[in-house]
Amino acid sequence: MTIDAWLQAAIADAERRGLPDLKPVLETLAKATTALRAADFNQSAVESRKSPVESPTSAAESRPS
């Protein structure tokens, strides 16, 4: 579902439930979801995932306690 389609449906549902004050809150969530979907860690069926960060040797392993 696209974010635009989701937002329209969510706002309509909120109004049906008598919660018109949810509209600006849902618009805020839509912005956050847009950012989340744009992140480069998302996997795609047509593209192999690139590791955003190499697995580090943890400090716990590299340093005496």
Binding site: L22, L26, L36, A39, P52, S58, A59, S65
Partner: protein
């Protein structure tokens, strides 16, 4: 603020009794609670009885450890047998806890005196402790300002001398934020270390229980008591010379109040002067922290509250109800994306710590905001208060790394601000060693070290 270390030493030297100090805490609660709105329940009778028992035990040679006879307040989201756990919500009206949460049982075993339950942001879902069935918690440093949240009553109780320590919970910063704006130490241990059973959840995958105290050493004592290990003395500070610290300047220092920035930079200067190496590192996906956090916490909270949102929505405060309703619209595919982002962020923080003893960053970008403010001026514009207050703390709830906020001295307006140290996962004790070493440089005053004789 009397520290637990000082209390413990003087108790065993016969200079003070638990009864005297508990009475002083109760006197301050009586004097200031109506003004500051810190407690939802004062357990005066039980506190007096426990304090007398603690004094009798000391007289008879029984020593339960460093928390023996120490007056402690408890966030009203943690179960204490026989009293309500309100979560500062009318939704919980009529609730009485049937048993102690494990952390409460551990505190009792350690000899702590529970003075009462503290006010919070309803269901821990906010950063200001304003949306509460009991009304807003006021900051002891300026009652016109927020005490932070969600553990606002906990921070205020310690700052106002109503308890020597408090137990809070932290899902996005809710121990460290009130600690930062109230001028106390606040410790969020590693995710999963301290039991969250008997705690009303906000997000089961990001909730932590942790102490708010007057010093890092006290935080260590309470942390170990919460683990059921009440006899552990504070660790030895890590040597300052050669300590490796890293500042994640990009994103984390992009949006700071000028006075907070000045206090932070001054703390860094003192740390360098004391022998620490301070590097700069980058958390590459820092811009994704808020979306990742939001989709997880909203979904977790909505699942827990779905039934009561349908059956008694009018009992929630309006702002918290809206935020919980928002979570009911998160799509499953986006929740899964957030979980993927969580893994990436955890690896990036691990990588940042691989060559360093701790990350160092401000606890909040701002000082305590005025009560009622929806936005606050920071940097070049106005930002939503909630977003700004969570900005520097929520990452470590997502990743689970331990983090401690230490007071960095007052701004010119006399308001506290904090500096945060972050350590490796499952190495909270190592973080505390680093924090003990850095505390004098961060606060800008020397911290007297008084050993506890409690073992």
């Amino acid at each position: 603020m009397m520290t637990i270390e000082e209390f413990s030493r003087r108790l065993r030297a016969g200079e003070i009794t638990s009864t005297q100090v508990t009475e002083e805490c109760l006197r301050r609660i009586d004097a200031d609670n109506a003004r500051l709105n810190v407690f939802t329940l004062v357990m005066a009778d039980e506190a007096r009885r426990r304090a007398r028992e603690a004094d009798k035990e000391v007289a008879s040679g029984t020593d339960r450890g460093p928390l023996h006879g120490v007056p402690i307040s408890i966030k009203d989201i943690i179960d204490i047998r026989g009293v309500p756990t309100t979560a500062s919500s009318r939704v919980r009206e009529g609730h009485v806890a049937e048993r102690d949460a494990p952390v409460i049982a551990h505190l009792r075993q350690a000899g702590a005196v529970l003075v009462g339950k503290t006010n919070l942001h309803e269901f821990a879902f906010g950063t200001t402790s304003e949306d509460s069935a009991f009304g807003a918690v006021k900051n002891p440093h300026d009652p016109g300002r927020s005490a932070g949240g969600s553990s606002g009553g906990s921070g205020a109780s310690v700052a106002a001398g109503m308890a020597l320590a408090s137990i809070g919970t932290d899902t996005g910063g809710s121990v460290r934020i009130p600690a930062g704006v109230c001028g106390t130490v606040g410790l969020k241990p590693t995710l999963g270390e301290v039991s969250i059973d008997g705690v009303v959840p906000l997000s089961r995958t990001m909730d932590h229980v942790g102490p708010l105290t007057a010093s890092v050493a006290d935080a260590s004592l309470v942390y170990h008591a919460l683990l059921g290990d009440a006899r552990t003395a504070p660790p030895v500070p890590m040597p300052m010379h050669g300590l490796r610290l890293a500042v994640p300047r990009k994103y984390f220092c992009d949006l700071l109040d000028d006075e907070v920035r000045a206090r932070f930079d001054a703390a860094l200067d003192r740390l360098r002067a004391a022998g620490a190496h301070v590097d700069e590192i980058e958390i590459r996906h820092a811009a994704d922290i808020a979306p990742v956090y939001l989709h997880i916490v909203l979904s977790d909270a909505a699942a827990y509250h779905a039934h009561t949102l349908e059956t008694m929505p009018e009992r929630y405060t309006p702002a918290v109800r809206l935020r919980l309703e928002m979570g009911r619209y998160v799509m499953a595919e986006d929740y899964v994306r957030a979980l993927a982002g969580r893994e990436v962020l955890a690896r990036e923080v691990d990588a940042a710590l691989a060559q360093h003893d701790a990350l160092v960053l401000p606890t909040l970008p701002i000082v305590a905001p005025p009560i009622g403010a929806a936005t606050v001026e920071v940097g070049r514009g106005r930002e939503p208060v909630r977003n700004v207050m969570l900005r520097l703390t929520q990452l470590f709830n997502v990743t689970g790394h331990p983090a401690v906020s230490i007071p960095a001295g007052p701004t010119s307006s006399g308001l506290p601000c904090g500096v945060q140290l972050v350590g490796c996962r499952h190495q909270t004790d190592v973080l505390l060693k680093v924090a003990l070493a850095c505390e004098p440089q961060i606060t800008g005053v020397s911290v007297p070290r008084g050993g506890t004789s409690g073992g």
